[in-house]
């Protein structure tokens, strides 16, 4: 390397020998800084799974890969998506929010104006009313945990408590509902009871610290903690106060739950308690037999805090309490953990969540007995992962 310089050959060679054993990464400069970071190229398969209509590519869903994630926050790039006609391109400089209808004074707000109001944050989940709907099928779907149940994500949402703006407009006593309308290619409209909006609704501007992502409502999203995704209206442009709901397509034709008697439950806003073992889960393999595996997963409830998650390895014959990771937040993902000693036996792993309203996540048997198999929405039954004696994991209905 350095021609005009000579010293004992042994030492020089020795050095060359061992440095060749160092990883490349230690023998060269790394990549420079970046203005906005991206995931590692080695994790390029950790993605949202897209299922969209073939003729209408903006209509469908993309699932969060919950089986590949840890902790409780869903990073913005992997927050689930549900769009009715794609992700609109909305210039925040021209976007307006109109609050009108049964108010003393119709008011409009620019995004810059909204930033002047007091803001609040809360970490909470948003779950599509149609999440896990493959569970209604007669045959258990063989998709990864996230790609069957990942129409739910958990983020820190920050924005203006909507109550301030409603009070500013002045709520007329007749106002019972508010029709929210989006500025997307579906002009999505939906009716929301005004008391929820006065309770804990946030006009979200930020998602996990930064401005909303386009697919999550940029520049403005209504966040209704614990309520189904459809009413967490993205790309919000209008809130019209009314005495009755509008009976829009997405509160009649869709997002209503058909019952066995042919009637349908309407305005089923609250997402009931649910849990899911994310690991070990379908598609993973238990390599050691016997071996200890860390059973981990997520639990959440639209009614409040998770108070308990039980885990079973024998189809629900017996249950053991999992550890709940702190902090346990209201209407937010709660991670549970429980080590599991596998002896090579056939096993069925299940988790069961309880929330602070006392609600207990039902078995699939109980859910189907109560609601039939054509409800399509609000599937929150216990999920069962079968572990074969070979250590392979499948989705089963144990009953």
């Amino acid at each position: 390397a350095f021609a005009s310089f000579s010293l004992p050959l042994i030492a020089a060679q020795k050095a060359a020998d061992f440095t060749a054993n160092l990883p490349e990464s230690m023998r060269q400069a790394g990549k420079p800084f970046s203005n906005y970071g991206q995931p590692s190229p080695y994790e390029k398969d950790i993605i949202r799974w897209i299922a969209a209509n073939q003729d209408m590519p903006g209509n469908g869903v993309s699932w969060s890969p919950l089986h590949e994630l840890q902790g409780t926050i869903t990073p913005n790039g992997l927050h689930y998506e549900r769009h009715h006609n794609g992700v609109p391109d909305i210039d925040p400089a021209t976007h307006q929010l109109l609050i009108d209808g049964l108010v003393e004074q119709p008011l409009s707000f620019s995004i810059e104006t909204l930033k002047r109001y007091p803001q609040t944050s809360r970490i909470c989940f948003i779950e599509c009313g149609g999440n896990s709907n493959s569970g209604w099928r007669n045959i258990p779907i063989q998709s990864s945990a996230g790609y069957a149940h990942g129409l739910v994500s958990n983020a820190e949402w920050t924005g203006v408590p909507l109550s301030y703006l409603l009070q500013e407009a002045g709520i007329k006593p007749e106002a019972k509902w508010v029709i929210a309308e989006a500025a997307d290619g579906a002009s999505l409209n939906i009716s929301i009871p005004i008391e929820k909006l006065l309770d804990d609704a946030i006009l979200a501007l930020y998602q996990n610290g930064e401005r909303l992502r386009p697919e999550n409502g940029y520049p403005l999203r209504l966040v209704l903690p614990g309520w189904e995704g459809i009413v967490n209206v993205k790309w919000l442009r209008q809130l019209r106060l009314t005495d009755t709901p509008v009976m829009s397509r997405d509160e009649t034709a869709q997002y209503t739950d058909l019952m066995p008697d042919g009637s349908a439950r309407q305005f089923s806003f609250i997402m009931d308690a649910k849990s899911l073992i994310t690991s070990p889960s379908l598609g993973m393999h238990l390599s050691d037999n016997p071996g200890i595996y860390q059973v981990t997963g997520l639990a959440w409830s639209g009614r409040g805090k998770i108070t308990r998650v039980e885990v079973s390895d024998d189809s629900g014959e017996s249950w053991l309490d999992a550890e709940l990771q702190e902090p346990i937040l209201d209407k937010a993902f709660t991670r549970f953990n429980l080590p599991w000693q596998w002896q090579g036996q056939y096993a069925v792993l299940q988790s069961r969540a309880t929330d602070d309203s006392g609600y207990v996540q039902p078995s699939r048997e109980a859910l189907v007995a109560n609601r039939g198999t054509d409800g399509f929405f609000h599937y929150n039954a216990i999920v069962s992962w079968e572990v074969t004696e070979e250590g392979d994991i499948n989705h089963v209905y144990p009953f």
Partner: protein, 160 residues
Amino acid sequence: IPTTYAQPLYQPLGQKADTLSSKPEWNLTIFPDGRGLPQGAGDAAQGKKIFTQHCVACHGFDAIGASAMPLVGEVGSLTSEYPEKTVNSYWPYATTLFDYIRRSMPPSSPYSLSSNEIYALCAYILSQDGIIESGVELNEVTLPQVTMPNRDGFSVIHQQ
């Protein structure tokens, strides 16, 4: 300092929007009683032509479904083993059809159809299952009068 701080304290920064609020582009929502419906009229024969041009590609000939769901048929199927939720079998209000088509369909160009065209499409879809007679003209007066088969099929579970 205590005199200048308080919680919560903020400036009311909303712009008076009476004019905005009265504009048609801020009055898109149509109610079951007909509030919000624009003037116009159309019948099933007209609707069939429009449907053929703008909708068949996704919803199929006769609106019985293709890449997009069926819109007609299956009336009375809701208690069967394979219930099918079409416009005609499931939707409680006909006004919703106008509201939804105008704001969402066809997906590549929402709001591209005239009010007449949308009334005609509603007439075409509803007449397929005899919810209206095939010759009936739908307009802002008659559309809200249509009684959908599943009008009373919904029970509100949200407790106010």
